[in-house]
Amino acid sequence: MSAINEIASLWMEGTMRTLDAFRTGFGATMDDPPPATRSRVIYESGLVRLRHYEARGANKKRVPLLLIYSLIKRPFILDLQPGRSVVEYLVKQGFDVYLIDWIPPRSDDRNHGFDEYVNTDIANAVRAIQIYTGIEQISILGYCFGALLGLIYSALHSGNVKNLVTLTIPLDTSPRQLPIEHLTAAMTSRSAKVIVDMYGNAPAWMMYSFFNTLAPTHHLLDKFVGAYRSSARPGYLDTFKLFERWLHSDVPMAGRIFLETSEMWRENSLMKGTMKVGETIADLTRIAMPLLNVIGDRDDIVNPLSSEPLPELVSSGDKQNLHYPTGHMGAAISADSLKRLWPQIATWLSARDD
């Protein structure tokens, strides 16, 4: 090897290390913390990895429950730590819980859109549960963007869904009250296209910056001061560290679904019944199964007004909005929600378990 090649390769190695350091520093996906609840991966395909959390206790429920989490962060927030885990709570209530642990898209997954996520990934996960349990209809519980995916799946494959629970679903994009709504509206279709042209997928650091920009005082100062003020509370700092880890767990959003989502939000197409997924219109009137729509009244990420109209759009006879005084993530991790909100959800599901 010539000297110039040797120098070039050394330089290249240094550059790659530097880039890697930048990548790690700017919100690359970190490993998940140890889970609170034991799980087993029972199926993996496309961008879906299906985890099974086996029901505990004597009062086991018949209908499997599938949790669908958002695409832009890791789902370990639902199983954060013992005593502060939605998954753990549901399992203890006798639910056989399945969680779609989305595999972060890589550069060649840029063409993954709603069609692929809903009609391939979720459809295959549901099929795997059907075959695994031998039960035809399952309950779906979607959180935030996961609720949107679960809703679309339920509209397109209603025969497979027994009950649908949507938590903090961003459905109606017409309200303009929260900073996030204005910031999203400021993103033109041209900007979204440039992002996808440049990066392939919407990068994780971009997602992280977007959400941090919305509340700079909180993210730069107040949350740390809050941690200091509450540091005397037992276990608070451990939860804080885990929550911070989750806040930094952004994953890229596949290029196509990023474009489709920004278009859907601009046009409000799902709400208007004009959104096409693959070849089919996602017609919400085809949803006839029982529906529980949970709304966080203090949610500053998804406007409660955005979630509220859902029951009016579906044809279910058994449907209701459940308002709860909590924020967007408080619904998943606050001690109060685990004591008061989740028992209501579990009771609602149990009553429809036959």
Binding site: I4, R38, I42, S45, D115, T120, G159, A186, L214
Partner: protein, 220 residues
């Protein structure tokens, strides 16, 4: 009889004293009590009277007010239509500039890399694709090897192809789960696989009798 040596001022201006000694002495004269001990004394006095708790509360209230005001100001900025317009335009311009920059840098470096004997981005991408394909082949092979249960293998194929075979279906019916009789799944009710995007599929096998380690199968 007291001598001049006992007098602290006796060495003033003497040839033995240094400049720093002089400064120290001057400070002692001006501040008979050091400021730190004075502060400590005041704080102790306040603590005894329970005033510190009130000061503490007032301090946090002031902090909360300032933070609340800052949050309100930020919200006002983001919800202002004018700011939204400017921001939207700025995002567009920044992204376009970035794209232009990336294109120019790409063109420059793509000519430079071969000159110094380094691979181009296309070549690196091609190698990555090859490595990924090999990794997928390996995963499939491992999955096949690990799937000792015949039914699991059939199920894996069924899910992968989105068609439940008659044979697998019969076995599903025979299987009892969760203590409930299995429901027959009609393949006709299964949603058809619509998308052409399908990468790889790994069946990790049925849960065995031995529980897995808690940390296993977690993470990316």
């Amino acid at each position: 009889m007291a001598t001049n040596d006992d007098n602290p001022r006796s060495k003033l201006n003497s040839i033995d004293s240094t400049f720093s000694d002089e400064v120290l002495k001057l400070a002692q004269c001006l501040m008979p009590e050091p400021p730190t001990s004075k502060v400590k004394r005041i704080v102790a006095n306040i603590t005894d009277k329970g005033i510190d708790r009130q000061l503490h509360e007032i301090g946090w209230k002031a902090y909360d007010t300032v933070i609340g005001a800052a949050n309100n100001a930020t919200n006002r900025v983001f919800t202002s239509p004018a700011v939204g317009q400017v921001l939207g335009g700025a995002i567009d311009i920044i992204l376009r500039y970035q794209r232009f920059n990336a294109a120019v840098a790409g063109a420059f470096f793509s000519a430079l890399w071969p000159a110094v004997g380094l691979p181009s981005a296309t070549e690196v991408e091609a190698i990555r694709s090859d490595v990924r394909a090999m990794r997928e082949e390996l995963r499939d092979a491992v999955a096949e090897r690990d799937s000792k249960d015949d039914f699991a293998s059939e199920l894996h194929i069924a899910v992968r192809e989105s068609i439940v075979s008659q044979q697998a279906d019969e076995k599903i019916s025979a299987r009892k789960t969760n203590g409930h009789p299995a429901t027959h799944i009609d393949p006709a009710t299964m949603p058809a696989k619509k998308s052409s995007v399908y990468q790889f599929s790994v069946w990790s096998g049925w849960p065995g009798a031995d529980p897995m380690e808690p940390g296993e199968d977690v993470g990316n």
